[in-house]
Amino acid sequence: MTDTQIINHILNGDRSRFNTLVWRWEKPLYNFILRYLGNKELARDVTQKVFIRVYKNLNKLRDPTKFSSWIYQIASNLCKDEIKRMSHRDFLSLDLIQEHNENEGHRLPEQLQESENCLPDAKLNQKQISSIVQKALQQLPEEQRVVIIMKEYQGLKFKEIAEALNQPLNTVKSRMYYGLNGLRKIFQQWQVTEEVLNYEM
Protein backbone atom coordinates (compact mmCIF):
# COMPACT_ATOMS: atom_id res chain seq x y z
CA MET A 1 0.00 0.00 0.00
CA THR A 2 1.38 3.39 -0.93
CA ASP A 3 1.54 6.41 1.35
CA THR A 4 -1.16 8.05 -0.73
CA GLN A 5 -3.52 5.12 -0.18
CA ILE A 6 -2.84 5.13 3.57
CA ILE A 7 -3.47 8.88 3.74
CA ASN A 8 -6.76 8.48 1.90
CA HIS A 9 -7.78 5.80 4.42
CA ILE A 10 -6.89 8.11 7.32
CA LEU A 11 -8.75 11.03 5.80
CA ASN A 12 -11.80 8.78 5.41
CA GLY A 13 -11.82 8.20 9.16
CA ASP A 14 -9.54 5.18 9.72
CA ARG A 15 -7.17 7.03 12.02
CA SER A 16 -5.49 3.89 13.33
CA ARG A 17 -3.68 3.63 9.98
CA PHE A 18 -1.61 6.61 10.99
CA ASN A 19 0.68 4.23 12.87
CA THR A 20 1.56 2.56 9.57
CA LEU A 21 2.75 5.94 8.33
CA VAL A 22 4.69 6.42 11.55
CA TRP A 23 6.43 3.07 11.21
CA ARG A 24 7.40 3.87 7.64
CA TRP A 25 8.67 7.35 8.28
CA GLU A 26 10.13 7.08 11.76
CA LYS A 27 13.62 6.03 10.69
CA PRO A 28 14.13 8.32 7.67
CA LEU A 29 12.72 11.29 9.54
CA TYR A 30 14.78 10.66 12.64
CA ASN A 31 17.96 10.36 10.57
CA PHE A 32 17.14 13.50 8.62
CA ILE A 33 16.56 15.50 11.79
CA LEU A 34 19.58 13.97 13.50
CA ARG A 35 21.81 15.05 10.60
CA TYR A 36 20.21 18.47 10.56
CA LEU A 37 20.48 19.18 14.29
CA GLY A 38 23.37 16.89 15.22
CA ASN A 39 21.86 15.97 18.59
CA LYS A 40 20.14 12.70 19.47
CA GLU A 41 17.89 14.04 22.22
CA LEU A 42 16.74 16.98 20.16
CA ALA A 43 16.24 14.74 17.12
CA ARG A 44 13.95 12.47 19.14
CA ASP A 45 11.82 15.37 20.40
CA VAL A 46 11.58 16.99 17.00
CA THR A 47 10.67 13.67 15.32
CA GLN A 48 7.74 13.34 17.71
CA LYS A 49 6.72 16.94 17.07
CA VAL A 50 6.77 16.31 13.33
CA PHE A 51 4.38 13.37 13.67
CA ILE A 52 2.05 15.35 15.90
CA ARG A 53 1.97 18.20 13.41
CA VAL A 54 1.44 15.81 10.52
CA TYR A 55 -1.43 14.17 12.40
CA LYS A 56 -3.09 17.48 13.15
CA ASN A 57 -2.69 18.94 9.69
CA LEU A 58 -3.14 15.90 7.48
CA ASN A 59 -6.53 17.16 6.32
CA LYS A 60 -4.87 20.33 5.01
CA LEU A 61 -2.70 18.30 2.66
CA ARG A 62 -4.39 19.04 -0.65
CA ASP A 63 -2.39 16.57 -2.73
CA PRO A 64 -1.54 13.29 -0.92
CA THR A 65 0.93 12.37 -3.68
CA LYS A 66 3.18 15.18 -2.41
CA PHE A 67 3.26 13.74 1.10
CA SER A 68 7.04 13.21 1.18
CA SER A 69 7.81 16.84 0.23
CA TRP A 70 5.23 17.95 2.75
CA ILE A 71 6.55 15.90 5.66
CA TYR A 72 10.12 17.09 4.96
CA GLN A 73 8.83 20.64 4.80
CA ILE A 74 7.33 20.23 8.28
CA ALA A 75 10.48 18.57 9.56
CA SER A 76 12.84 21.22 8.19
CA ASN A 77 10.62 24.03 9.50
CA LEU A 78 10.60 22.49 12.97
CA CYS A 79 14.38 22.02 12.83
CA LYS A 80 14.78 25.67 11.87
CA ASP A 81 12.52 26.68 14.77
CA GLU A 82 14.54 24.48 17.08
CA ILE A 83 17.82 26.09 16.03
CA LYS A 84 16.27 29.55 16.45
CA ARG A 85 14.89 28.60 19.86
CA MET A 86 18.27 27.27 20.95
CA SER A 87 20.03 30.41 19.80
CA HIS A 88 17.58 32.55 21.80
CA ARG A 89 17.73 30.42 24.91
CA ASP A 90 21.42 29.62 24.97
CA PHE A 91 22.65 32.88 23.58
CA LEU A 92 25.99 32.79 25.32
CA SER A 93 26.65 29.12 25.01
CA LEU A 94 25.93 29.12 21.27
CA ASP A 95 28.47 31.88 20.79
CA LEU A 96 30.95 29.72 22.58
CA ILE A 97 30.07 26.77 20.38
CA GLN A 98 30.57 28.85 17.25
CA GLU A 99 33.93 30.07 18.46
CA HIS A 100 34.83 26.51 19.26
CA ASN A 101 33.76 25.42 15.78
CA GLU A 102 35.74 28.17 14.10
CA ASN A 103 38.88 27.07 15.88
CA GLU A 104 38.20 23.49 14.93
CA GLY A 105 37.44 24.34 11.34
CA HIS A 106 41.08 24.17 10.35
CA ARG A 107 41.76 21.02 12.23
CA LEU A 108 40.85 17.41 11.80
CA PRO A 109 38.31 16.10 14.26
CA GLU A 110 39.93 14.34 17.21
CA GLN A 111 38.68 10.93 16.21
CA LEU A 112 40.51 10.98 12.90
CA GLN A 113 43.67 12.40 14.39
CA GLU A 114 43.66 9.55 16.88
CA SER A 115 43.22 6.97 14.18
CA GLU A 116 46.00 8.44 12.10
CA ASN A 117 48.34 8.06 15.03
CA CYS A 118 47.33 4.45 15.42
CA LEU A 119 48.67 1.44 13.57
CA PRO A 120 47.91 1.22 9.81
CA ASP A 121 45.44 -1.62 10.28
CA ALA A 122 43.39 0.40 12.76
CA LYS A 123 39.88 0.73 11.45
CA LEU A 124 37.63 3.73 11.48
CA ASN A 125 34.36 2.62 12.91
CA GLN A 126 30.98 3.92 11.83
CA LYS A 127 30.82 6.17 14.88
CA GLN A 128 34.04 7.93 13.91
CA ILE A 129 33.01 8.32 10.26
CA SER A 130 29.62 9.74 11.22
CA SER A 131 31.33 12.13 13.60
CA ILE A 132 33.67 13.40 10.85
CA VAL A 133 30.90 13.82 8.27
CA GLN A 134 28.63 15.44 10.84
CA LYS A 135 31.30 17.95 11.78
CA ALA A 136 31.94 18.73 8.13
CA LEU A 137 28.22 19.26 7.52
CA GLN A 138 27.98 21.58 10.51
CA GLN A 139 30.55 23.85 8.84
CA LEU A 140 28.17 24.54 5.98
CA PRO A 141 25.52 27.27 5.99
CA GLU A 142 22.18 25.88 7.13
CA GLU A 143 20.48 26.35 3.74
CA GLN A 144 23.16 24.32 1.96
CA ARG A 145 23.27 21.68 4.68
CA VAL A 146 19.56 20.91 4.47
CA VAL A 147 19.69 20.50 0.68
CA ILE A 148 22.64 18.13 0.89
CA ILE A 149 20.96 16.04 3.61
CA MET A 150 17.72 15.83 1.64
CA LYS A 151 19.54 14.79 -1.55
CA GLU A 152 22.28 12.53 -0.23
CA TYR A 153 20.48 10.77 2.59
CA GLN A 154 16.76 11.10 1.94
CA GLY A 155 17.09 10.57 -1.82
CA LEU A 156 14.60 13.28 -2.74
CA LYS A 157 14.44 14.62 -6.26
CA PHE A 158 15.51 18.26 -6.66
CA LYS A 159 11.92 19.11 -7.51
CA GLU A 160 10.72 17.62 -4.22
CA ILE A 161 13.41 19.48 -2.29
CA ALA A 162 12.33 22.72 -3.95
CA GLU A 163 8.73 22.01 -2.87
CA ALA A 164 9.73 21.11 0.67
CA LEU A 165 11.88 24.21 1.11
CA ASN A 166 9.56 26.42 -0.91
CA GLN A 167 12.48 27.62 -3.04
CA PRO A 168 13.03 27.83 -6.80
CA LEU A 169 14.51 24.69 -8.36
CA ASN A 170 17.65 26.50 -9.57
CA THR A 171 18.30 27.92 -6.10
CA VAL A 172 18.15 24.40 -4.67
CA LYS A 173 20.56 23.09 -7.31
CA SER A 174 23.03 25.91 -6.80
CA ARG A 175 22.91 25.39 -3.03
CA MET A 176 23.66 21.72 -3.65
CA TYR A 177 26.55 22.63 -5.90
CA TYR A 178 28.08 25.14 -3.49
CA GLY A 179 27.43 22.85 -0.55
CA LEU A 180 29.20 19.93 -2.19
CA ASN A 181 32.11 22.14 -3.19
CA GLY A 182 32.28 23.48 0.35
CA LEU A 183 32.42 19.97 1.73
CA ARG A 184 35.08 19.02 -0.83
CA LYS A 185 37.27 21.81 0.47
CA ILE A 186 36.67 20.85 4.09
CA PHE A 187 37.55 17.21 3.39
CA GLN A 188 40.65 18.31 1.49
CA GLN A 189 41.67 20.41 4.45
CA TRP A 190 41.21 17.45 6.77
CA GLN A 191 42.84 15.14 4.22
CA VAL A 192 39.83 12.92 4.27
CA THR A 193 39.44 11.07 1.00
CA GLU A 194 37.30 8.17 -0.08
CA GLU A 195 40.40 6.02 -0.42
CA VAL A 196 41.49 6.77 3.13
CA LEU A 197 38.11 5.81 4.46
CA ASN A 198 37.99 2.67 2.31
CA TYR A 199 41.50 1.67 3.28
CA GLU A 200 40.91 2.27 6.93
CA MET A 201 37.62 0.47 6.81
Partner: protein, 225 residues
Protein backbone atom coordinates in the same frame (compact mmCIF):
# COMPACT_ATOMS: atom_id res chain seq x y z
CA UNK B 1 30.83 26.08 -24.51
CA UNK B 2 32.41 27.56 -21.41
CA UNK B 3 32.92 25.61 -18.21
CA UNK B 4 30.82 28.08 -16.20
CA UNK B 5 27.80 27.47 -18.43
CA UNK B 6 27.98 23.80 -17.50
CA UNK B 7 28.13 24.29 -13.73
CA UNK B 8 24.39 23.74 -13.21
CA UNK B 9 24.61 20.45 -15.10
CA UNK B 10 27.23 19.01 -12.74
CA UNK B 11 24.59 18.44 -10.08
CA UNK B 12 21.99 17.15 -12.54
CA UNK B 13 24.48 14.68 -13.96
CA UNK B 14 25.82 13.59 -10.58
CA UNK B 15 22.37 12.70 -9.28
CA UNK B 16 21.07 11.33 -12.55
CA UNK B 17 18.43 13.98 -13.04
CA UNK B 18 19.78 15.26 -16.35
CA UNK B 19 17.82 15.27 -19.59
CA UNK B 20 19.18 13.24 -22.51
CA UNK B 21 19.93 16.39 -24.50
CA UNK B 22 21.86 18.01 -21.63
CA UNK B 23 23.69 14.75 -20.97
CA UNK B 24 25.04 14.69 -24.53
CA UNK B 25 26.14 18.32 -24.25
CA UNK B 26 27.73 17.73 -20.88
CA UNK B 27 29.59 14.56 -21.87
CA UNK B 28 30.82 16.21 -25.07
CA UNK B 29 32.33 19.05 -23.09
CA UNK B 30 33.70 16.75 -20.44
CA UNK B 31 35.68 14.69 -22.96
CA UNK B 32 37.50 17.87 -23.94
CA UNK B 33 37.90 19.64 -20.59
CA UNK B 34 40.27 18.20 -18.05
CA UNK B 35 39.45 20.65 -15.23
CA UNK B 36 35.76 19.81 -15.46
CA UNK B 37 36.63 16.11 -15.36
CA UNK B 38 38.61 16.71 -12.20
CA UNK B 39 35.86 18.75 -10.62
CA UNK B 40 33.23 16.11 -11.38
CA UNK B 41 35.46 13.44 -9.91
CA UNK B 42 36.03 15.51 -6.78
CA UNK B 43 32.30 16.13 -6.35
CA UNK B 44 31.59 12.43 -6.88
CA UNK B 45 34.17 11.59 -4.23
CA UNK B 46 32.67 14.06 -1.80
CA UNK B 47 29.28 12.51 -2.35
CA UNK B 48 30.79 9.06 -1.77
CA UNK B 49 32.32 10.21 1.49
CA UNK B 50 28.97 11.53 2.62
CA UNK B 51 27.45 8.12 1.87
CA UNK B 52 29.77 6.54 4.44
CA UNK B 53 27.61 8.01 7.16
CA UNK B 54 24.99 5.32 7.52
CA UNK B 55 21.49 5.65 8.85
CA UNK B 56 20.91 4.68 12.46
CA UNK B 57 17.88 3.09 14.06
CA UNK B 58 16.05 5.42 16.38
CA UNK B 59 16.28 4.28 20.01
CA UNK B 60 12.57 4.94 20.53
CA UNK B 61 9.24 4.17 18.98
CA UNK B 62 6.60 6.70 18.19
CA UNK B 63 3.12 5.31 18.68
CA UNK B 64 0.15 7.48 18.01
CA UNK B 65 -2.88 6.62 20.09
CA UNK B 66 -6.01 7.42 18.17
CA UNK B 67 -8.17 9.84 20.03
CA UNK B 68 -11.91 9.47 20.33
CA UNK B 69 -13.34 12.28 18.33
CA UNK B 70 -16.70 13.74 19.09
CA UNK B 71 -19.28 14.08 16.32
CA UNK B 72 -18.87 17.87 16.56
CA UNK B 73 -15.16 17.84 15.80
CA UNK B 74 -15.79 15.19 13.17
CA UNK B 75 -18.26 17.59 11.59
CA UNK B 76 -15.74 20.42 11.84
CA UNK B 77 -13.13 18.27 10.16
CA UNK B 78 -15.52 17.36 7.36
CA UNK B 79 -16.32 21.05 7.02
CA UNK B 80 -12.68 21.95 6.52
CA UNK B 81 -12.43 19.24 3.88
CA UNK B 82 -15.19 20.86 1.84
CA UNK B 83 -14.14 23.03 -1.06
CA UNK B 84 -14.60 26.80 -0.62
CA UNK B 85 -17.33 26.73 -3.25
CA UNK B 86 -19.46 24.16 -1.42
CA UNK B 87 -18.76 25.95 1.89
CA UNK B 88 -20.16 29.16 0.39
CA UNK B 89 -23.15 27.21 -0.90
CA UNK B 90 -23.82 25.76 2.58
CA UNK B 91 -23.54 29.21 4.16
CA UNK B 92 -26.00 30.59 1.60
CA UNK B 93 -28.46 27.78 2.33
CA UNK B 94 -28.30 28.47 6.08
CA UNK B 95 -28.82 32.22 5.60
CA UNK B 96 -31.80 31.68 3.30
CA UNK B 97 -33.44 29.25 5.76
CA UNK B 98 -32.98 31.69 8.66
CA UNK B 99 -34.37 34.50 6.47
CA UNK B 100 -37.51 32.51 5.60
CA UNK B 101 -38.15 31.69 9.26
CA UNK B 102 -37.71 35.34 10.26
CA UNK B 103 -40.07 36.49 7.52
CA UNK B 104 -42.73 33.98 8.57
CA UNK B 105 -42.35 35.00 12.19
CA UNK B 106 -42.78 38.71 11.40
CA UNK B 107 -45.68 38.11 9.01
CA UNK B 108 -47.63 36.19 11.64
CA UNK B 109 -47.11 38.55 14.53
CA UNK B 110 -50.38 39.26 16.35
CA UNK B 111 -50.95 42.07 18.81
CA UNK B 112 -54.25 42.08 20.67
CA UNK B 113 -55.87 44.04 23.50
CA UNK B 114 -58.01 41.86 25.69
CA UNK B 115 -59.29 42.30 29.22
CA UNK B 116 -57.16 45.32 29.97
CA UNK B 117 -53.86 44.02 28.75
CA UNK B 118 -51.91 43.87 25.56
CA UNK B 119 -50.90 40.56 24.16
CA UNK B 120 -48.36 39.91 21.43
CA UNK B 121 -47.71 36.58 19.79
CA UNK B 122 -45.36 35.52 17.04
CA UNK B 123 -45.72 32.31 15.14
CA UNK B 124 -44.13 30.68 12.18
CA UNK B 125 -47.46 29.60 10.78
CA UNK B 126 -50.74 31.50 11.11
CA UNK B 127 -53.66 29.71 12.83
CA UNK B 128 -56.90 29.61 10.80
CA UNK B 129 -59.69 31.53 12.62
CA UNK B 130 -62.43 28.91 12.00
CA UNK B 131 -60.30 26.43 13.76
CA UNK B 132 -60.08 28.87 16.66
CA UNK B 133 -63.90 29.09 16.85
CA UNK B 134 -64.45 25.37 16.87
CA UNK B 135 -61.76 25.23 19.48
CA UNK B 136 -63.73 27.63 21.67
CA UNK B 137 -66.99 25.69 21.14
CA UNK B 138 -65.27 22.49 21.92
CA UNK B 139 -63.88 24.00 25.10
CA UNK B 140 -67.33 25.24 26.13
CA UNK B 141 -68.87 21.81 25.53
CA UNK B 142 -66.15 20.22 27.40
CA UNK B 143 -66.67 22.48 30.41
CA UNK B 144 -70.39 21.84 30.38
CA UNK B 145 -69.90 18.12 30.18
CA UNK B 146 -67.48 18.35 33.01
CA UNK B 147 -69.94 20.36 35.10
CA UNK B 148 -72.71 17.80 34.43
CA UNK B 149 -70.50 14.94 35.33
CA UNK B 150 -69.52 16.70 38.51
CA UNK B 151 -73.16 17.32 39.37
CA UNK B 152 -74.11 13.68 38.89
CA UNK B 153 -71.17 12.54 40.83
CA UNK B 154 -71.95 14.85 43.75
CA UNK B 155 -75.61 13.79 43.70
CA UNK B 156 -74.85 10.12 43.75
CA UNK B 157 -72.39 10.69 46.56
CA UNK B 158 -74.94 12.59 48.62
CA UNK B 159 -77.60 9.94 47.99
CA UNK B 160 -75.29 7.20 48.98
CA UNK B 161 -74.39 9.09 52.12
CA UNK B 162 -78.01 9.71 53.04
CA UNK B 163 -78.98 6.09 52.52
CA UNK B 164 -76.15 5.03 54.67
CA UNK B 165 -77.13 7.46 57.42
CA UNK B 166 -80.78 6.35 57.33
CA UNK B 167 -79.75 2.75 57.58
CA UNK B 168 -77.59 3.55 60.57
CA UNK B 169 -80.41 5.48 62.27
CA UNK B 170 -82.89 2.66 61.65
CA UNK B 171 -80.60 0.07 63.17
CA UNK B 172 -79.98 2.39 66.14
CA UNK B 173 -83.75 2.91 66.70
CA UNK B 174 -84.37 -0.83 66.44
CA UNK B 175 -81.73 -1.53 68.98
CA UNK B 176 -83.06 1.17 71.30
CA UNK B 177 -86.55 -0.23 70.96
CA UNK B 178 -85.38 -3.71 71.74
CA UNK B 179 -83.46 -2.45 74.78
CA UNK B 180 -86.51 -0.49 75.94
CA UNK B 181 -88.79 -3.54 75.49
CA UNK B 182 -86.45 -5.74 77.45
CA UNK B 183 -86.20 -3.21 80.27
CA UNK B 184 -90.04 -2.81 80.38
CA UNK B 185 -90.50 -6.58 80.66
CA UNK B 186 -87.95 -6.63 83.42
CA UNK B 187 -89.78 -3.80 85.18
CA UNK B 188 -93.17 -5.49 84.76
CA UNK B 189 -91.75 -8.69 86.17
CA UNK B 190 -90.40 -6.79 89.15
CA UNK B 191 -93.74 -5.00 89.67
CA UNK B 192 -95.60 -8.37 89.43
CA UNK B 193 -93.26 -9.89 91.88
CA UNK B 194 -93.69 -6.92 94.27
CA UNK B 195 -97.50 -7.12 94.00
CA UNK B 196 -97.42 -10.85 94.78
CA UNK B 197 -95.33 -10.16 97.85
CA UNK B 198 -97.70 -7.41 98.99
CA UNK B 199 -100.68 -9.70 98.41
CA UNK B 200 -99.11 -12.52 100.31
CA UNK B 201 -98.12 -10.21 103.19
CA UNK B 202 -101.60 -8.69 103.35
CA UNK B 203 -103.14 -12.15 103.32
CA UNK B 204 -100.93 -13.24 106.24
CA UNK B 205 -101.64 -10.11 108.14
CA UNK B 206 -105.39 -10.42 107.51
CA UNK B 207 -105.27 -14.05 108.62
CA UNK B 208 -103.34 -13.01 111.70
CA UNK B 209 -105.87 -10.32 112.43
CA UNK B 210 -108.67 -12.80 111.78
CA UNK B 211 -107.08 -15.29 114.14
CA UNK B 212 -106.49 -12.73 116.83
CA UNK B 213 -110.06 -11.47 116.43
CA UNK B 214 -111.33 -15.07 116.71
CA UNK B 215 -109.27 -15.52 119.90
CA UNK B 216 -110.62 -12.27 121.22
CA UNK B 217 -114.15 -13.36 120.47
CA UNK B 218 -113.47 -16.68 122.23
CA UNK B 219 -112.07 -14.81 125.19
CA UNK B 220 -115.00 -12.48 125.39
CA UNK B 221 -117.40 -15.40 125.04
CA UNK B 222 -115.60 -17.24 127.75
CA UNK B 223 -115.71 -14.24 130.06
CA UNK B 224 -119.35 -13.72 129.35
CA UNK B 225 -120.09 -17.23 130.26
Amino acid sequence: MKCNDLKPLFIDYLYDEISDKDRDLFLAHLSECESCQKELQALQQTSNILQKWENVDPDFNVVMVTEKISWLSHLKERWTQLSPKSQKFAYGLVYITIGIFLLLAIANTEISYRQGEFKMSMGLFSKPSSQQKTDELFAQEFVERLQKENYYLMNSLIQQNEAKQQKEIATAILQLRQDFERKRIEDLNLVGFGLDNIERNTYHQLKKTDNSLNELIHLINAQLK
